[in-house]
């Protein structure tokens, strides 16, 4: 799964602060993200968007890619 590309489908289901922080990092619906690393036991996921690396929780990641 490493270095795979995903598209952000939606921000629904995330709480407001998380959405706001992701927005202010420049993420929006339709942004393409590359997963850099998955931590075991559904730990955090490192994603890369616009040359910046961001660590998010696995649940947040699932929500973003619409799963």
């Amino acid at each position: 799964m490493i270095m795979k590309q995903f598209t952000i489908h939606q921000f629904n289901g995330l709480d407001d602060s998380t959405t706001q922080r992701l927005h202010s990092l420049g993420l929006q619906t339709g942004s393409v993200l590359t997963t850099v690393r998955f931590y075991p036991f559904h730990g955090p996921v490192i994603i890369q968007v616009d040359q910046q690396r961001i660590g998010i929780r696995y649940q947040v990641f699932r929500q973003l890619i619409g799963g």
């Binding site: 998380t18 922080r21 202010s24 929006q28 955090p44 961001i54 660590g55 929780r57 649940q59």
Partner: protein, 485 residues
């Protein structure tokens, strides 16, 4: 006297720039309501004052620190705002710049860390950027002092010489524009608020800015308060965000120039690969801490302590004893100085090397950015006790001193998580407890001292984590934590 406010995203080199620009600065107390120090400096050979504001991603704050900036803009009117941006992360940096530019105060944007941008093979046409944003754009590299002289000369100006910036006007969707215009008009007519400020206030209010909403409530700005439900129902916040991002993207696309691309993998990204490795991360983390304790107890700290102890109890007390006998001091006074002062203060002083090394290690780790990686690596464990990886950093700093650790907990977004972190912080063994540990270890364990101290520390951590789980149940925490590093 001119006041320049330094404002920008976190990690854009704001503080480095601040230190380079000013020759003396002072902490003038805390910002109201938070324990963030307010730092004001003076530019060399001038009477321009520079205010260093905490790093933020947007004017709508999530944490308490971030609210400092919005409150500052609401209440004070700096003569000039210097917006420091990270040149290679311009897209997200400009989201903040737009919010500032809409305020209509004179702004200079500086693209800091311009070297990093050139290394990626891109460059921006500064003129195109300046025209689109309506403010001067400069490039600097605070670390190599590039472009600083020019920037300084532009900041050292009398108030009269600073050109007024007209506020940036973005083309928001019609409904939003109409709402902004209506609110602005009634604010100007009924409340005698300056048009520019009213315009900014309306945009920020519509954009769900918590601080501005509180401000509107406190000042009873009816035109905004009465429309609140309408703004939120129409999702104007999303529309504003999309307009801004679209504006930034089109601006950056037209302004981007490609340089000859240079390819190289920096050493930092190699280190990054190891310390954030999913499986190796945790062992590396424990290893780093073991090394830290080894340094402070076995390799540097304890030998130094022993030497200091030998020096104090040997030559210094004998010398003081001789000196006092020679000058004919009372035996009582001599005993007070030799057995009381030198032995007493010395008893504490011998632990200084250990504490010093530990503190040095912690601050190096913090400044190198390892702490942010550690937060990532430890998030999964922290999640089990209902906290997030960010809570780890205050707890680690708690090893140096619980007080600073508790202060560092303010970066955690949720109030309840913050409370739990502060509550379990005292379980982390701070450096003041070190002398006691050292005493026990020295008295009871002749060998493997570093390992014993390490295990005492880990015992503290385990108890702390169990308590966190307990508090979690006690406080009925339900909300999910925001965890983005």
């Amino acid at each position: 006297m001119t006041t320049v406010a330094l404002l920008g995203n976190p990690n854009t080199g704001k503080t480095t720039l601040f230190n380079e620009l000013t020759d003396k600065y002072a902490y003038v107390g805390n910002w109201t309501g938070v324990t963030v120090e307010k730092k004001v400096g003076q530019i060399k050979h001038s009477d321009t004052m520079v205010v260093d504001l905490p790093g933020i991603y947007s004017l709508n704050p999530i944490t308490k620190d971030e609210s400092v900036v919005t409150n500052y803009l609401l209440r004070s009117k700096p003569d000039l705002i210097l917006n420091v941006t990270n040149a290679s992360q311009l897209k997200r940096n400009l989201l903040l710049s737009i919010e500032v530019l809409e305020l209509g105060l004179p702004v200079i944007i500086t693209l800091n860390m311009i070297d990093d941008l050139k290394r990626t093979g891109h460059y921006y046409n500064l003129e195109t950027l300046a025209n689109a944003l309506g403010c001067p754009i400069r490039t600097t590299n605070a670390r190599s002092k590039e472009g600083l002289e020019q920037l300084k000369s532009e900041l050292v100006k009398d108030q009269a010489q600073i050109h007024e910036n007209s506020p940036l006007k973005l083309d928001y969707p019609m409904m939003v524009n109409q709402a902004i215009r209506q609110a602005t008009n009634s604010l100007v007519n009924d409340y005698k608020i300056e048009p520019q400020f009213a315009h900014w206030l309306s945009i920020q209010y519509i954009n769900c800015n918590k601080v501005v909403r509180k401000y509107a409530k406190a000042h009873d700005l009816k035109p905004l308060l009465s429309q609140r439900a309408y703004y939120d129902a129409q999702k104007f916040e999303d529309a504003i965000f999309e307009t801004r991002l679209a504006f930034i993207e089109s601006t950056l696309t037209t302004a981007t120039e490609t340089l000859e691309s240079t390819k190289h993998v920096t050493i930092t990204s190699k280190i990054d690969k190891v310390v954030t490795h999913p499986l190796l991360g945790l062992p590396v983390f424990i290893g780093v801490f073991f090394l830290m304790f080894k340094l402070s107890f076995d390799w540097i700290g304890t030998p130094l302590s022993n030497q200091l102890d030998a020096l104090l109890s040997g030559p210094i007390s004998t010398w003081a004893n001789h000196f006092l006998t020679q000058v004919g001091a009372l035996p009582m006074l001599r005993s007070l100085v030799v057995n009381g002062l030198i032995a007493g203060v010395g008893g504490v002083l011998v632990f200084m090397p250990q504490i010093f090394v530990l503190f040095a290690c912690i601050s190096i780790l913090e400044d190198s950015g390892y702490m942010a990686r550690a937060a990532l690596v430890t998030d999964r464990i922290m999640e089990l006790i209902g906290l997030n990886g960010k809570a780890f950093i205050p707890l680690i700093i708690g090893f140096g001193c619980n007080v600073t650790g508790i202060m560092a907990a303010r970066t955690i977004e949720q109030p309840k998580e913050r409370l739990i972190t502060t509550l379990i912080s005292p379980f982390m063994s701070c450096s003041a407890r070190l002398p006691i540990y050292s005493l026990f270890v020295a008295a009871l364990f002749p060998r493997h001292q570093a390992v014993i101290v390490l295990s005492i520390y880990f015992l503290g951590i385990t108890v702390g984590l169990l308590m966190a789980k307990f508090y979690h149940v006690l406080f009925h925490v339900k909300e999910n934590s925001v965890f983005i590093v």
